[in-house]
């Protein structure tokens, strides 16, 4: 009898210690290993705890973990998530299920994304170029609220996030967007004002939209055709077709380019002339004081 009881106690202990989906698969269990591992599988515990998802259990997103070390540590992905994971697997190599899991809670945003030029490229065309959630928002482990200065999609940071792809020449060629889109935006009044902290200055998403972004040739794009007038009017009331033609992000027009060169030549010439004039004046002044003792001077 006593032996039997001991065996039962031992069995109970073992059950508690064996990692199980129901009882022990909270973040602390995973971070026991992943908190100190190196490379892409590392999760920074401190930063994770501070993120908007910091209270989540890992398996809420990592629903189909593989390998013996994860045995019993897994959630249960529904059919939609499994399908989505399959279609983004060329983009998301490490854990497509976890990438697809965003849609479970953010279903409304997922619907917008699915219809966007980015979403179609990833989900339908199965391209590895297009962005998934984490491409813009960063790792789900460390997502900060949009208002936070650390957020990659904060009003003042989102331009850099877009630039990660839209500055790339090979993508510009492949998808026929202006290769100078970033440069031309950054040097514009809009870009400069945003840089020096103007809340009202538009970032990329202010005009182009974010999750629902469309190709400019798509008539539903906010910068296509007559929609552009409406979009510009948000800040410039009374905008007309002629007015909205100002912003194209295209390379500098030759007339503007040569106007700049002429003005630079003018500026440099005047600069050179006045510098020489002032230096000669100083020279003559010193010379006169030292050698000519000009009595007429005060």
């Amino acid at each position: 009898m006593r032996n039997w009881l001991n065996a039962l106690l031992l069995l109970l202990f073992t059950v508690v210690l064996i990692p199980s989906a129901d009882a022990a698969a909270d973040a602390a269990t995973c971070l026991g290993c992943h908190g100190s591992m190196e490379g892409t599988v590392n999760v920074n515990q401190e930063k994770y705890a501070k993120s908007v998802h910091g209270s989540f259990d890992c398996i809420m997103c990592h629903m189909s973990l593989k390998g013996a070390q994860h045995q019993g540590l897994s959630g249960k992905a529904d059919k939609a998530t499994i399908e989505l994971a399959a279609s983004i697997s060329s983009k998301s190599k490490i854990d497509p299920t976890a990438q697809a899991a965003c849609a479970q809670c953010h279903a409304d945003i997922y619907e917008l994304y699915k219809a966007s030029v980015h979403g179609k490229n990833v989900i339908i065309k199965k391209s590895s170029d297009g962005p998934v959630c984490t491409s813009c928002h960063g790792s789900a482990h460390y997502i900060q609220p949009k208002a936070s200065k650390e957020s990659t999609v904060n009003h003042f940071n989102v331009v850099q996030s877009c630039g990660k792809c839209h500055e790339e020449k090979h993508l510009a060629e492949k998808y026929r967007f202006s290769p100078l889109v970033m440069e031309r935006y950054l040097e514009s009044f809009h870009g400069r004002k945003l840089k020096v902290g103007h809340n009202g200055a538009p970032s990329c998403v202010s005009c182009h939209g974010s999750h629902d972004i469309k190709n400019v040739e798509d008539p539903s794009s906010p910068v296509a055709g007559a929609n552009k007038i409406k979009t510009c009017s948000k800040c410039h009331p009374g905008a007309t077709e002629k007015f909205v033609a100002a912003i194209t992000h295209k390379p500098l027009h030759p007339i503007a380019h040569y106007a700049e060169i002429i003005l630079i030549i003018l500026t440099v010439s005047v600069f050179a002339f006045i510098c020489i004039h002032v230096l000669l004046d100083i020279y003559a002044d010193i010379r006169d004081r030292l050698f000519r003792k000009g009595g007429k001077h005060e």
Partner: protein
């Protein structure tokens, strides 16, 4: 020479002209300070500098207000000139003349030591004329482009459709590059001539008093001196 008729100093700028100058340089400095932050937005101190001016929105308001004040000051100056002309007080002493080119050449000869004497300058020498007309250039290039950029929706209706592809870039380049030229010009040419020159350091007080001593006039503007007090002028009167 009749010394009794020669005063010890002579007024070169009346009160109105002095006030116009004060408004001009105050707005110029405000425009330079706030505009600099936007022109060099991607250089490190720009954001902190804009914060010093009350943030991007406030700096923008200061820039626009100063710009409009400067344009009004410039327009007022045209009426001031018209009024002088009406009172027959307007002497065309600032109009560039062929003599200015000769004077400039002579001045360079003097710099290099080929001439012993400074040129026979009139009421305003060629450098001062340059200074004066530079403001007109600035007003037409920087002032006009600045006005267009400040009211883009309104202004876009007057530009022809074929210019919309480049006109805003041209206006922006004009405003930005010529503002740099104006700042450099003032900082080097005007500051040297009116502040740093050993005779006037730390500044030429004429901007406050409007007056120049007769010795200064005789030395720097001999033609004007001779016109006013020389033998010839006495004959005329």
């Amino acid at each position: 020479m009749n010394n009794k008729n020669i005063p010890t100093e002579i007024e070169r700028f009346d009160l109105s002209a002095r006030i116009q100058h004060v408004i001009m340089f105050t707005t110029f400095l405000l425009l330079s300070f706030t505009g600099w932050g936007l022109k060099y937005a991607y250089q490190d101190p720009a954001s902190a500098w804009i914060r010093f001016w009350g943030g991007a929105k406030m700096a923008g308001i200061i820039h626009r207000a100063a710009g409009i004040t400067m344009l009004l000051d410039f327009i007022y100056h045209q009426f001031y000139l018209l009024n002088l002309a009406r009172k027959k007080d307007l002497r065309l002493t600032l109009v560039p003349m062929p003599k200015d080119v000769v004077d400039a050449f002579h001045n360079f000869m003097y710099f290099f030591g080929f001439r012993k004497e400074k040129p026979y300058f009139g009421k305003f020498n060629y450098m001062q004329k340059f200074d004066y007309w530079a403001v007109y250039w600035g007003m037409f290039i920087i002032g006009a482009s600045g006005f267009f950029l400040a009211f883009p929706v309104m202004v876009s209706s007057i530009f022809p459709a074929w210019s919309t592809q480049w006109i805003w870039d041209v206006l922006f380049i004009m405003h930005s590059d010529e503002a740099l030229l104006a700042i450099v010009f003032i900082l080097i040419f005007h500051f040297y001539n009116e502040h740093l020159r050993s005779e006037v350091f730390p500044m030429n007080w004429m901007w406050l008093t409007g007056k120049m001593s007769i010795e200064q006039l005789k030395h720097h503007h001999p033609m004007e001196y001779d016109n006013l007090f020389g033998e010839k002028s006495e004959k005329k009167k």
